[in-house]
């Protein structure tokens, strides 16, 4: 058994928290973007690493959240106030509900045979992307531009947040909260049952757990978190487009999480940060070769290090009650 590494985990968050003291505004903004992807990666890590459900279309939920936020704050949803708070609520509720219903449809009764889940989610994301491209009300191919920044208060006293530092702090806080919530969920009885289902679905069912409900619920949680990341994305980038709904982003997040390590939240989070940073540095130099290198790296890690590159370092001990002997 590897040594637990909770000090390292705390250190990572501490370093991130201290970044504003040493990092300039430009890079602070960049780091905030990366952490949004990191939150997104944690959502996939939860459903895949804990639930064993390999979702190939996770960007569907990210995009749903982003569009929900964009449409709300731009006042394009009739009867819905143009407020960021409502936007966040919708960005959590809409993907969560879609995932829960899709989950129930797929897992109820005899349920969908494992691998089919990946194909179905992939198909859903690709089709959603095509739908968004062809739906002019939500911006069609060009997407939605000029999404207002996060605003507190209203009227003359309203405070708009577009400086890098407050954005960084908000995203950092969001990432930490999401991390702690998902970690808590992992280490709760719910998480234990989920891993039980992941390892042996039949046995969990025999023990009386409603497997379909657990899977659908965890799928919904992951989708809501992805939607939340999407909403943050919409605010920070001030635009959304069909590309964030579909194939390409779904692929990217899969790579971040697989390379980082699907079973450890922080590893998935850092996987996104590291891959994206390296991409920022190298994609100019390598051009088209960058994706080729990334693809090959990904294959190698799947075959040789299926648990990911960072997971062994950031693995945490199980809660006291769940530790086995030795």
């Amino acid at each position: 058994m590897r040594r637990p590494s909770s000090p390292l985990t705390v250190a990572v968050w501490a370093v991130l928290a201290l970044c504003p003291l040493v990092v300039d505004d430009w890079n602070l903004g960049l780091l905030a973007q990366l952490m949004i992807y990191g939150i997104f990666a944690m959502s996939l890590s939860f459903i895949w690493g804990q639930g064993g459900l390999l979702c190939f279309g996770q960007a569907l939920f990210f995009g749903l959240g982003a569009y929900a936020m964009a449409l709300t704050t731009k006042g394009l949803l009739p009867g819905v106030p143009a407020s960021a708070l409502v936007g966040f609520l919708l960005a959590l509720a809409l993907p969560g509900t879609v995932a829960f219903l899709l989950g129930l449809a797929l897992f109820r009764g005899r349920g969908l045979v494992g691998p089919y889940f990946g194909i179905v989610t992939l198909a859903a994301a690709v089709i959603a992307e095509r739908l968004a491209v062809n739906w002019n009300y939500i911006g069609g191919f060009n997407g939605l531009l000029d999404i207002p920044p996060l605003t507190f208060g209203s009227g003359d006293g309203a405070i708009e947040i577009f400086e890098p530092l407050p954005i960084f702090l908000i995203v950092f806080g969001a990432a930490l909260v999401v991390y702690l919530l998902l970690l808590g969920l992992e280490r709760s009885p719910f998480g234990t049952v989920l891993r039980g289902i992941r390892d042996n679905e039949m046995r969990a069912a025999f023990m009386g757990y409603d497997v379909a409900r657990y899977k659908a619920a965890s799928f919904a949680v992951a989708a809501a978190v992805a939607g939340f990341a999407g909403a943050l994305f919409a605010i920070q980038f001030a635009f959304v487009s069909p590309a964030i709904l579909g194939f390409a982003l779904s692929t990217e997040v899969l790579i971040w999480v697989a390379l980082g390590g699907k079973e450890v939240l922080l590893a998935a989070f850092l996987g996104a940060l590291v891959v994206k940073s390296v991409e920022n540095v190298l994609s100019d130099a390598l051009g088209q070769y960058w994706l080729l290198v990334l693809g090959i790296l990904f294959i190698l890690s799947v075959v040789l290090l299926p648990r990911g590159l960072l997971a062994p370092v950031f693995r945490l001990r199980l809660p006291r009650g769940l530790r086995g002997g030795g």
């Binding site: 064993g52 390999l54 190939f56 449809a105 797929l106 009764g109 005899r110 349920g111 969908l112 045979v113 494992g114 691998p115 089919y116 990946g118 194909i119 179905v120 992939l122 198909a123 859903a124 690709v126 089709i127 095509r130 739908l131 062809n134 194939f247 692929t251 899969l254 790579i255 697989a258 088209q288 070769y289 994706l291 080729l292 990334l294 693809g295 090959i296 990904f298 294959i299 799947v302 075959v303 299926p306």
Partner: protein, 285 residues
């Protein structure tokens, strides 16, 4: 009347094209239990091999053979260096083939560039029959799809090699204990399924704009087809392509392609829910 006939012919064409793509997919999925997400890119390589060999002035029939052999060889390499190590880790085979798909597509972009290429059909004269005129090459593609499917069935059910492959699928350990080199069969099956993808890409290339994204377009309907039809046997590919292809082209003709995709996807989920083993699995019961 002739319009309906024309729509019917288009639908048939789409169904058969889908079948052509599915048949290699279902061989690898149904027989080796590997969901090959790189199938679209193997298709792509088949199409690009037409671009390349045509530029050298090779005759079309030779182009088809080259496409099959080249992609079969690539499949052999993929099996030998990657898939072989992860047969027992099912989800990882999906991930690995996903990575392969990414790498192959990017390799194509590096070699041929991201722009779309034009491929000339070896013959395109419209033929007139039963009151309509129709592209002769489209008719040729339909005939090829039927021929390839028939040939696949012959190999599987009428040859010793096919019997061996089916035996390995039914009971790998027993087949090995009877003296069958199962590794060899794995390699051959994967190469054969890959080669069929390449052949499909080559045959379809003159009908499509050949660009690095073309593989993805067929991948989703193809996968839905084998889920709906049943992945366990090649018969499933026929059922699936028929159901998905027909509903897709009919709905697209009546409404729009996007609505068709959404409806067909929902239909596929309903069918998979009711018949988890697909149409072929249900017929067998």
């Amino acid at each position: 009347m002739s319009l309906i006939f024309l729509i019917g012919l288009d639908a048939t064409g789409y169904v058969l094209a889908l079948l052509l793509v599915c048949i290699g997919l279902v061989i690898i999925f149904g027989m080796m239990n590997v969901i090959n997400l790189a199938h679209g890119e193997l298709f792509l390589i088949g199409a690009y091999s037409v671009v390349y060999t045509q530029s050298l002035g090779a005759p079309f029939w030779l182009v088809l053979i080259v496409a099959f052999c080249l992609v079969a060889f690539i499949g052999l390499l993929i099996e030998q260096f990657i898939i072989r190590h992860i047969y027992h880790r099912f989800l990882d085979t999906i991930l690995a083939t996903w990575g392969i798909s990414l790498a192959l597509k990017q390799a194509i972009i590096v070699i041929f560039g991201p722009a779309s290429q034009q491929v000339v059909a070896p013959f395109a004269e419209p033929v007139a029959f039963l009151g309509i005129t129709y592209s002769s090459y489209r008719l040729f593609v339909m005939a090829m799809a039927i021929a390839v499917t028939a040939a696949t069935f012959l190999v599987l059910y009428k040859t010793k090699l096919g019997l061996t492959a089916r035996g390995v699928i039914a009971n790998r350990q027993m087949a090995s204990c009877l003296g069958v080199n199962t590794r060899r069969i794995d390699r051959l099956t994967f190469a054969f399924g890959s080669g069929l993808a390449g052949l499909a890409g080559a045959v379809m290339a003159p009908l499509m704009s050949v660009d690095p994204q073309m593989g993805v377009g067929f991948l989703i309907p193809a996968f839905l087809s084998i889920l709906v039809g049943g992945a366990a046997s090649p018969v499933g590919a026929i059922w699936g392509a028929a159901v998905i292809g027909t509903s897709n082209s009919v709905i697209a003709a009546v409404w729009t392609p996007v609505i068709a995709q959404i409806l067909v996807f929902s239909l596929a989920i309903v069918v998979i829910r009711i018949l988890p083993n697909g149409i072929a699995g249900w017929k067998k019961k």
